[in-house]
């Protein structure tokens, strides 16, 4: 087990290093540099050159990369072209909003998907199974901006049950209830794809487990159908379903861009749109780098969880 963990970490490290290389390359390809954007336009060309020299912008690219990586490891992601604020700080300000939205989306998604997947599997080829399979595919196929606009139209504009956008009511009491009301629509939009995936996954995991010998044994012993399904089978089917959590990170972070844009949710997704329209490349690459690190860690956690919960798995 320990050797597997070490091995898995050793694979993750070069990938993370490669991620920093890709990030750095893209920043370097981006037009303009810090000096162009931060400096007084009236400054003379010689002074500009001197400034570039002193900032290390004339160093060979590998040297620049090494310096950049050194800063990165100390938690310095660079400074925003727009207001000079530290990138880490800008992202930090927005992280909470995205995190709470994503967690709520995951919660909704799993609460819908697991029961539906289980019912679908226990009644294989029934009408319910058919409908839920179609709905699962619908969840994966619906463009989240279209779903978002549709939900705003129905629930916020026609019936006015829920707020159109934002995180809190302006001038409101900023209560948890207010937050939840604002979160329902965007979280559902963000989680729709996950609902589809997890439903399909739960269904096939259940179908696989139900066919195994220990289930047949349990049935032969006269254990009731409910206990067989919900105690024996579900427990085993949930293992791969839970480990799928770690793999949802790219979907959630990617989906957050559109979802937050539609619902004016002040998180990292909206920050990336702001950064794109102002060509704030350090912020953009900081966001990308963080997303990539989260994705790699998510994959790592999911693999480790999988091997911990399922002792049958032996990695070579």
């Amino acid at each position: 087990m320990l050797s597997y963990l070490v091995k898995r970490l050793l694979i993750a490290l070069p990938v993370l290093l490669g991620v920093t290389v890709i990030t750095f390359t893209i920043i370097n390809l981006a037009p303009g540099d810090v000096v162009d954007l931060l400096v007084d336009p009236n400054i003379s060309a010689t002074d500009l050159a001197a400034l570039r020299e002193s900032l290390g912008l004339n160093d060979p690219v590998p040297v620049q990369y090494a310096k950049w990586l050194g800063q990165l490891l100390q938690g310095n992601l660079g400074y925003s072209y727009v207001n000079g604020q530290a990138v880490a700080e800008r992202i930090g300000d927005r992280m909470g909003a995205t995190l709470s939205l994503s967690l709520f989306a995951l919660l909704i998604a799993y609460l819908i998907a697991i029961p539906v997947g289980v019912i679908s599997a226990t009644k294989q080829y029934s009408l319910i199974d058919y409908i839920s399979s179609i709905l699962a595919l619908v969840g994966v196929s619906v463009p989240n901006f279209f779903l978002g606009i549709g939900l705003i139209y129905v629930f916020a504009l026609k019936f006015q049950w829920l707020p159109v956008s934002g995180m809190y009511t302006l001038g409101g009491d900023n209560s948890l209830f207010d937050l939840l009301r604002h979160m329902i629509l965007p979280a559902f939009v963000l989680g729709a794809g996950t609902v589809g995936q997890v439903t399909r996954y739960t269904r096939s995991a259940m179908l696989e487990v139900v066919r195994q010998d220990f289930i047949r044994t349990a049935r032969a012993k006269g254990v009731s159908q409910t206990v067989v399904i919900y105690k024996h089978a579900l427990r085993n089917a949930l293992i791969p379903v839970i480990t799928l959590l770690g793999l949802q990170i790219p979907n959630l972070l990617g989906g957050a861009i559109i979802t937050e844009q539609i619902f004016s949710w002040p998180g990292m997704g909206r920050l990336s749109i702001e950064a794109i329209s102002s060509r704030d490349y350090p912020v953009l690459m900081g966001l990308n780098l963080m997303a990539a690190v989260l994705v790699v860690l998510g994959g790592l956690v999911s693999d480790i969880l999988y091997s911990l919960t399922d002792p049958r798995i032996r990695y070579s």
């Binding site: 196929s141 990170i249 972070l253 953009l284 990308n288 994705v295």
Partner: protein, 300 residues
């Protein structure tokens, strides 16, 4: 394993083009039994026909500006007029060309890249394999849409740039599939026999192993097309994809970022949104059907 995969390289993988007498083909038979896949295929073919003959189907020039604007759907303009006074139906029909072709071209690019790199890595193994696999892992680590947004904002948004960026970034899943197929197949008897008979590497790759990988590649490419269409639509919706006045399903929804349009002009955003949804759903149904048809082990 090998039996089911051998089936995969027969022409039956394109059921629509088959003559009825070839119905004995097991792949085609299994595909046709999958009702949703058949429905999906019919929807998809309809959309493709409309896209190909867009000028014939569209009642007006998509860029022609009428005397009024913001009009409700009427007999003359079935889906109404947009905020500039262009016929929405004509724009939606012409947009299908753009949206579908972006999906197909992008996926074609990355299927070629993924197949070539995957074949090299899986067939030769060794250090090259390790390096290519790690590179694929690195690209898979970025949420794709984020990386695309950054690159497109640098090189400028246009239909060609979207196709190329999607194509250049999309290869890792195909790479993984092809590499995996090569790893399992290269040790199998029929490949070993070919090798023993002195076949060249290129012959082993193109005649023995690759044809057996076509099924999984086709399934992945089908799902990939759905994803590419969604990604293009999202980018265009954000204003970073296909640029107006050229219409794509995604950029027709740009106007729907205002509450007034959402509330009082649903004819502007429902048709293009519904078409993205419908085409992606249809392609996913076809993908599901293909997967079940090509890999019977997954069923029952």
């Amino acid at each position: 394993m090998s039996a089911s995969l051998k089936v995969a390289n027969q022409p039956g993988t394109k059921p629509a083009a088959e003559a009825p007498k070839e119905r004995s083909n097991p792949v085609l038979r299994r595909f046709l039994r999958h009702k949703l896949a058949v429905i999906g295929l019919i929807i998809l073919l309809t959309l493709i026909v409309v896209a190909v003959f867009a000028p014939q189907f569209a009642p007006y020039d998509p860029n022609a500006i009428m005397a009024t604007y913001d009009d409700h759907p009427s007999a003359a303009h079935r889906l109404g007029l947009d905020q500039v006074g262009r016929d929405v139906l004509s724009r939606v029909i012409h947009a299908s060309r753009i949206s579908l072709s972006v999906g197909v071209v992008a996926v074609s690019i990355y299927v070629v890249i993924g197949t070539v790199l995957g074949s090299i890595a899986g067939f030769y193994g060794g250090k090259l394999d390790i390096v290519l696999t790690r590179i694929a892992d690195m690209f898979l680590s970025f949420p794709q849409i984020m990386l695309i947004l950054v690159i497109v904002s640098m090189i400028g948004p246009s239909i060609w740039n979207i196709m190329v960026v999607l194509g250049l970034l999309g290869w890792p899943p195909i790479f993984r599939i092809v590499r995996g197929q090569f790893l399992t197949l290269r040790e199998q008897d029929f490949v070993q026999a070919g090798r023993a008979m002195g076949a060249k590497d290129s012959r082993l790759i193109f005649r023995h192993v690759l044809p057996n990988s076509l099924g999984p590649i086709l399934v992945s490419a089908t799902f990939g097309t759905a994803t590419a269409i969604l990604t293009e639509a999202s980018l265009s919706f954000l204003g970073l994809g296909v640029q107006p006045p050229q219409a794509s399903w995604g950029n027709l929804l740009i106007d729907a970022q205002s509450i007034t349009v959402i509330e009082s002009m649903p004819w502007l955003w429902v048709p293009p949104g519904a078409l993205i949804f419908l085409s992606v759903l249809a392609i996913n149904f076809v993908g599901d059907g293909l997967r079940d048809a090509l890999d019977p082990r997954l069923k029952r």
